[in-house]
């Protein structure tokens, strides 16, 4: 037996399958125009509700076709784009805002801190899915709005962690020295605090990413997410419910993709957390 390779130490063998799923989905999303067998919006009324593997006029529907004769696999590949983009952008926006506000709250103390951290408590006390639903209902659905809503609902998670971490670092000698030597507040926060709290923040990111995928799909499922004809897994699944007795594949495959994506993100996220917290 050889010693574990460097890759093996970086990521245990049992996690490779999850990393592979994530990589395949990410690549599919990135290369959608090239890897999708069909355009996601081309309808073919002769090929409606065909089961997986059927061929109609030279087009093979690998995962079947939907009620308008669109190729399900192609729609799912483009759906991966929506899922991953919305999740990545909402994590980015909420993470940036939350981390910044958390650091500012810890650094300035006093009223600023009280107001920010109270707001954190308040937003977190509303069940997240309800808060997301009511804000979408107010703003209206759509790509940008969904990201805005998810960012608004989730920033307090980052703020709480950034706040606690910053408080712990603020009075360390090197931070005090840098202030003493005249560094401005933004410089201290960005150069000295941020690099030292980024680990715990990344743990929140990995936990939140799967949740954001789930939320986007949930909102789309309820008709409050990205609007048709843009293919979103949640919306495809929702439409497929009407054909569950005749064409099970329309509802089953988007859910399967969604489940595999969230599962992989969660499993890898757990690993990241263990590494950051030094448990392995």
């Amino acid at each position: 037996m050889t010693a574990p390779s460097r890759l093996g130490r970086w990521l245990p063998a049992r996690l490779w399958v999850f990393a592979a799923i994530l990589a395949v989905l990410a690549l599919a999303a990135l290369l959608a125009p090239w890897v999708a067998p069909q355009s996601p919006e081309t309808q073919n009324l002769l090929g409606r509700l065909r089961p997986p593997g059927t061929e109609v006029r030279g087009i093979t529907y690998l995962l079947g076709s939907d009620e308008l004769g669109r190729d399900l696999l192609s729609r799912l590949i483009y759906g991966a784009q929506v899922s991953l983009t919305v999740a990545a952008l909402s994590v980015l926006v909420s993470g940036t805002i939350g981390t910044a506000l958390g650091m500012i709250a810890a650094w300035s103390g006093g009223w600023t801190s009280t107001i920010i951290m109270r707001l954190v408590d308040i937003v977190l006390s509303v069940p997240a899915i309800l808060l997301a639903i009511i804000t979408v209902a107010i703003l209206g659905p759509g790509f940008v709005n969904v990201i805005a809503v998810l960012a608004f609902t989730r920033w307090p998670r980052y703020a709480r962690v950034a706040y606690g971490q910053t408080l712990g670092l603020m009075n360390l000698p090197y931070v005090r020295l840098s202030r003493f030597m005249g560094a401005s507040t933004p410089r201290v926060l960005l150069r000295h605090i941020l690099p030292n709290i980024i680990g715990p923040i990344m743990v929140v990111v990995t936990l939140e990413f799967g949740l954001m995928v789930l939320f986007e799909a949930g909102l789309s499922f309820l008709g409050l997410g990205v609007q048709p004809p843009t293919p979103s897994w949640g919306a495809i699944l929702s439409a497929g419910r009407n054909y569950v007795t005749t064409a099970w594949w329309i509802a089953v495959f988007p859910g399967l993709f969604l489940f595999l994506l969230i599962l992989s993100v969660n499993v890898l996220g757990d690993h990241v957390r263990d590494v950051v917290e030094g448990r392995r």
């Binding site: 408590d121 006390s125 309800l130 209902a137 107010i138 499922f221 949640g234 988007p254 859910g255």
Partner: protein
Amino acid sequence: MSRFLARRLMQAVISVLGVTALIFFLQRLAGDPVLLLVSEGASQQAIDALRANLGFDRPVLVQFTDYMSDLARFDFGRSVVQQVPVVDIIGSRLPYTIWLAGVALLLALGVGAPLGVFMAMRRDHPLSRLGMGFVLAGQSLPTFWSGVLLILLFAVTLGWLPASGARETQSVILPAICLSLLSMATFARVTRTAVLDELSKPYIRAARAKGLSMGQVVRRHALRNSAIPVISIAALEIANLLSGAVIVETVFAWPGLGQLTIQSIAARDFPIVQAIVLLGAFVSIFLNLAADLLYSAVDPRIRLEGGK
């Protein structure tokens, strides 16, 4: 203890007030609230009439104080579509959601906790490995997908159970299973960790050395102490079950508050949506408070820390 209690209660009150204000200002920030309520293509006259009728033409602060004092009297306004007090509509739907969430909680706790105990006692048993797989999968399972799978298997293919609605008693089974899976996984995971934690303590080794069997040790000693985290998680899980009901009720056409929320959004009946969100927030604040108090009531160590 009383200082901890007072501080925690104060926090809850501030959260309640804050959430109420948050929802109010969210609506105002998003633009003209009247436009949320009218159907598209309504005449300017109709819009103005509704605005005056609902009092939206008054200063925002006056509206806010009115809104707060109405809420303090449990007056959530009238449904725009049905012209009935919101409280009556919610009252007619609430029992369904409580029934669904109640059955789901029983299922989650009844299956999850014993599974967790088993996984802690027999760590290498094949069933335990299967259980860990379930814990992992359960946390990543979208309810709107597991719901469809349940319908496909038990309603469409086997024809054992009704796929939707709430006409028969057994209608609750599929939505309750669907709703309970995530909580079940959580209970199994938390119970397993809690029992394992307890089993690693010296007093357990002493009890074993005294000659008690593993089963006796778990039953007489470990279970009682490991119940603490499970109980406090239970309060939080109730909140999760209630908000999870929004999607599950939509999947199974279950006539509870969740379905009402989505129907009201589609009908632009905003007073109902607002009332449900506030209700959800209050319940979850209350349950969080209950979890903390319960926790400190059964575990004096937390009480001491909080009182410092």
